[in-house]
Symmetry: C2
Subunit: 308 residues, 2 copies
């Protein structure tokens, strides 16, 4: 198969940690350029903006957009209008409506749009989905509790309107939950805690249900020190299922059923190549829709100021 | 055509002011029952809950759900599972995801679901759509400013989480805007003003754009005394278009082009009968999606307490 000439826009921590190694390890791609206001990728052409890059390197066939979500739509429109396939880091945008707009534009231009959810490719997610499909779920508890100072040090954008705050990691949990459950869920109540000096929540608590009356709740908290938790626990007729470490490990009644090395970004790039070759898009907005629902439905609580 | 046996649930101000006269004036319907915690409809059977009503009156074919949005999903599931067609007052629910769930259930049960947007049936809306389709829009300003004490006196639910606050009327403006514009829009920034003693906004300011770079902004305010405004003003290459009085009147450069008597609810019930007979649903979530987007993207500002 011919390689795909790829460019990356928005060179920050996630690009260095995940995108570059995943692309380097996949023979389907040749990384030909990068554009970023601050970051650089060694060994290829670098540009200060996506406009400059697209006009200087016409051989680009696909673009990964990794800048903060508030700036993603404008860049995506430029890439799609230039006929490039587009990979959107999560969350795919700052609003649902702008991503719907991109999906329509991609269809119009006959290019592929990929709204990526890396946590769906965590090692044990498919095994959890299979386990839950064969039993009845009595209750499910999601706990995504981490130390924002460790994982998002001095990331100003994440606290700005549209930056989503604690939903930036929380949406990973929602991307897994919406994959492993047998039926769609919807929020019935939520509480969002906003630090008095910030425009995005530092903690959120949401209850959900589904058409069968599922008892589901999620706790997202960025104030966790010590042990970090990214766990989904389900009480089922076949025992207690624990999907832990962000989807990496699955156990039932204490027996470890599934634990393999993490390959999220390599799998995302595999999926992106697959949809480009098949000529379609992959845009599931359910995780972002649940976040928007929680903001719309949620009670706001002001809590103490947060300082990095 | 055989008449449709209709029941109404949630008998409050909007039912007495709008639904009952519209149903009485439409020969396609026979109103056979009502269910409400507090209200009653004279001359028909009344019940304390939808469960009691559905089991006591099996001849019901369609149900209009007019309770506050926070309680609409549970009632809709009961009606759809009993094989009834469902008319949802606006907004269709407290979350986007729950309405998606209802749409899937309606399709599964082969009944019609109608997410109604009464303002789309205001007299001059279609004329405004036609005018805008033939010109280029330079800018559009939406001003929906009314006195909440006059229009929603002591409606506690509207201030609760999920009650939407000033978006309850504002969603009417959004239902018109999304109908008359030639392309989908999306929010780029928003400010929501929450009274310090309330869980829903009393004012909101939103900027939108579209794929062609439209300059659109909307101001919703519930603190307006004196003249009330429900106006959409567009600067276009064919002149200044003013769609005023909530969609009732259209003028261009000061010349009145369209003003007919208001028939919103009669037209809604006409549309509901039409989709029942055609065997399909009519569920456009764009207005509610824009509200959710504004909540997710918006900056929160705390303003002085509001007392009824």
């Amino acid at each position: 198969m011919p390689t795909i000439n790829l460019a990356i826009v928005g060179v920050g921590k996630i690009v260095r940690d995940q995108h570059l190694p995943a692309v380097a390890g996949n023979a389907d791609y040749r990384l030909v350029a990068a554009a970023s206001r601050n970051g650089r990728v060694e060994g290829i052409d670098n540009f200060g903006s996506i406009e400059q890059m697209l006009s200087a390197v016409p051989s680009i066939q696909a673009v990964s957009l990794c800048m903060p979500p508030q700036y993603r739509h404008a860049a995506a429109v430029q890439a799609l209008e230039a006929g490039k396939h587009v990979f959107l880091e999560k969350p795919p945008g700052a609003t649902l409506s702008e991503v719907e707009d991109l999906a329509a534009l991609a269809a119009d231009r006959h290019v592929s749009l990929f709204a990526s959810w890396h946590s769906r490719y965590a090692p044990a997610v498919e095994a959890a989905r299979e386990f839950l499909s064969g039993t009845r779920i009595r209750a499910m508890r999601v706990a995504w509790k981490e130390d924002v100072r460790q994982w998002h040090p001095n990331q100003a954008w994440i606290w700005q309107p549209g930056g989503l705050g604690v939903f930036d990691p929380g949406i990973n949990a929602l991307s897994i939950v919406t994959r492993i459950l047998p039926r769609p869920v919807f929020a019935t109540a939520a509480t969002l805690e906003f630090p008095e000096n910030r425009d995005a929540p530092i903690a959120a608590s949401i209850t959900f249900t589904d058409a069968a009356g599922l008892d589901l709740s999620a706790e997202f908290d960025w104030r966790q020190t010590g042990r970090q938790s990214w766990d989904i626990v389900a009480q089922t007729e076949a025992g207690e299922m624990v999907l832990s470490e962000g989807g990496a490990k699955l156990s039932v009644d204490g027996r470890l059923l599934h634990a393999e090395p993490e390959q999220e970004y390599p799998m995302l790039y595999g999926r992106f190549a697959e949809i480009i070759r098949a000529g379609h898009s992959d845009v599931d907005l359910a995780p972002l829709r649940h976040v928007a629902d929680a903001f719309m439905l949620g009670r706001r609580k002001v809590v103490e100021a947060f300082h990095d």
